[in-house]
Amino acid sequence: MSYFSRTKLIEKIKFGLLSPDEIRKMSAARIITADTYDEDGLPIPSGLMDQRLGTIEPGQRCQTCGNLVSNCMGHFGHIELARPVIHVGYAKKVLKVLRSICPECSRLMLSEEEKENLRKEQIKHRKIFHEGDEDITKIVFKRARKNKTCPYCQGKKKKIILEKPTTFYEEEEAKGSRRITPIEILERLKKMIDSDLRILGISPKNARLEWVIFTVLPIPPVCARPSITLDSGIRSEDDLTHKLVDVIRINQRLRENIDAGAPHLIVEDLWELLQYHITTYFDNQVSGIPPARHRSGRALRTLTQRLKGKEGRFRSNLSGKRVDFSARSVISPNPYISINEVGVPKEIAKILTIPTNVNDWNIEQMKQMVLNGPNKHPGANYIIRNDRRRIDLRYVKNRKIIADMLSPGFTVERHLVDGDLVLFNRQPSLHRMSIMAHEVRIMEGRTFRLNLTVCPPYNADFDGDEMNLHVPQSEEARTEAELLLKVQEHILSPRFGGPILGGIQDFISSVFQFTSMDSLYNTKDTLKLLYMGGVFDQNPDFDLEDVEPSIKEPIPLYSGKQVFSTLFPDDLNLRVRSKFCKKCFTKEGGECKEEDCESDAYVTIKNGVLTTGTIDENSFGAMQSNSILQRIIKDHGNARGRKFLDNATRMLLYVIRQEGMTMGLDEVFVKGEAYDNIQKVLEDANQESKRLIKAFRENDTSVLKRAPGRSMRETLELRVRQVLAEARKQAEEIAANFIGDEAHSVIMTKSGARGNILNLGQMSAVVGQQAIRGERINRGYTSRTLPHFKVDDLSPKARGFVSQSYRHGLDPSGFFFHAMGGREGLVDTAVRTSTSGYMQRRLVNALQDMVIENDGTVRNSDKNIIQFKYGDDNVNPQHTDHGEAVNLDVLLLKAKTLNMNEIKEELKREAKKPKSKPKKKRKEKEKKTKEEKIEEDISETETKETSSSEELPSEEELQAEFEKETGKNAIWRGKITQQYKEWKEEKYGV
């Protein structure tokens, strides 16, 4: 197949049954012998491998069509069956029809009138829906079955039973049951008239029901069941061939027996055997009969098994295929490459190619690549000449000649080089971010390298994960990848309208330490950091001298906040509460102190400067909405967001490498008074539990009051669990206080980098209650969990409360309980993944080809309307702010920091301009300008007042006034801002 081959349209596909005549007509050979090859290894004529069924040997011409292997698609043969046999798949349909027709005259057992009515219904339905109505056919079967006497010949109908899979019985109350042979069924079905068949939903032209009873069996061509020659020279036949051998053998024996006039019983037995073989030939998993087996005991893989299920033809060969131009390798991290990039091993780059058209502009490069050949890196593997002949550079003796031959119009399949776009994927591909486009970076080594921040969307880690890489081959595919699939286009997730990328783990720890109050850097370190963060690349005019150090004496020191601020765009404004926030405003009478927060938990970024607050997971982490990253992307686009992420992670990596971040056993070692306190808390809880248990035994309702809707036993469990949970919490708190805020493990948990307080508590204070199915452990022996305990011991220790910490070490029973709880977790995840995977499959299959049309409706592939307006509001969640189309808080904050004079200028300019501006101003923008206008009016009055004062105020006063008026800094990073200068000029004409 060539790229230039003509496209043809499929107008229609017709499905139907093959009639015996048709089978004979399309048959190339009648198969008589059950054998395949003779001693010389030649196919036996009229055997299952008859050469007329198509060639399999290369170089040999087909006896039927005269083509070589590559062009011969194989030809069917046939077997004449000695006795008719029913097709398993249609047994149910046959039963339904037999039940609704007269055994004598084979007419549908409904009156003409009824038939006419149903026919009319059917026609009406066809007019609207362009297909038959299955509901009506159902009614036909239902009604016809009820009639016991034929309205045409007065024949009596008997009850017909199907004994699975293929045996039919006719039952008469007095006489018992009698088998209906396939011959009889065939006769009855043959007698049916076309109009009756039509009412039953059967097309008399394409699928007369009698054709499901085989008198002739088609034999598939040899290429559909190829035999394999093993290394030892032994031929191994396909499962289908094996099955067909059985069918032919039994068929022959049956015929011989019938011809010889064998007793009825023997013939019947052989007939049944033939039916069995043909049944299993079609489906080897029919219930009610044992599956046919190979000599080794393995069940045969026959026709149905070839198509069905995950490993079947449809799901594994048609819906999904193995592809060329792909690679797979282990992944490993590299924080120095961009999130848009992927490191590709040289070995892989030399195999994967991109077809490049040679033109006047790239011919020199292409020549060099051809000269380099397939084994030197930026080389080429193939050349396609003007006449579409392909040259394999591996077998070219002198590549110089080929390189000189190159001219525009040639295509060079060149190696992957830096900057090529490839698709990168990690299974399971659960959402669209599982496949994204990356730019290639050729690297030494044998693993794919990727930036750490793209781990969350792929759900990847580096414990041996492997990922796949695909190379788009056409210009269209590459463009599409560039515009739609690049990682930077997926920073904002369509799931929750926030960034799915962001700092993870060490980056969070790092940014937390970096931007906390006491981090200070001297000029040298600061410059190094700025260099790592690419500040000078991003902003070539940047000069550290312009920034006023937060401490000037004795040496200038810059705060981490200042350094980190250099990464932000100048107009970034943000207010977020960090994870450290104590939620003062939720407490009664409490109020958020905002910028003056004692724990530095209120992050304020004003005109691109981080003034207060410590950055942590909430403002910098992955999957956090309203984070710095989201705000940058909303205002400056994906590319700026990507740069910020790249630069920030690089800077933070340097920070954490200088500072260090580690954790040891002694960090969670709680000793001295704190340890005693924890033990006391635990002992108290133990005593309290014992008191409750005692009350339970004595049925003392004053101590243990029965909870509503629960039994005494349940109440006890509830109370004990509560007491123990409370104790664990207290112990945890004591331990946390003892460890303090300086410990690295605490920094990690509190900043949200990794782990939580509970983990720390389990390490340092107490592991706590182990649970199975949400209850304390109560399984094991009769009335006790382990032989260490007395029967009916309900004490915390006997029911899975582990009162030691990991640091201290668990006692044997505690260790065992912990393992029990841990196992439950493992089982849960295993079950969850399989069930949710199946759910996902069903959901995707149901939703996959729905499309939002240009009129905003959601439609399926038939263009039926599924939803009249996408999402009821036509909003794309990826571009929302956490699901909201407009984030008012952010808009207001932005409006507050706007420079009124600048806007006034702009409005003036705008007014002067002729009305060439397009009308599609966004609603949001209009809204904003409205707000601005109002504020503008206010500021205008103020301006008049100030300008009326005659004396010129001092510079400091002016600056203060400017800041007050516009909310912008007059001096920013040590420089008088342009905005201020303009403002001054306009106001005072200075």
Binding site: I128, D135, T857, N864, I865, F868
Partner: protein, 85 residues
Amino acid sequence: MTKKKKIDVLLHKYVPKHVLLTKAEAEELLETYKIRYTDLPQMFEKDPVAIAIGAKEGDVVKIIRDSETTVSQINYYRYVKKEKV
């Protein structure tokens, strides 16, 4: 057998407002979306609401309801179909 109490389903708080469209309105709807009757979502003739508002096979019903997550007053349309069996 006790007589079944008749309930007006239209008064139930979980039943949104249903409006039976006239032929002309229905045609107009089909024209705006450039669709055929069968491209609309369907409801059965035996649907309690269809009975209550007297919708017969071939009619188009407009349903007006508020969305929990987004805007209020969204129109949905249903093609009334006869239920078989």
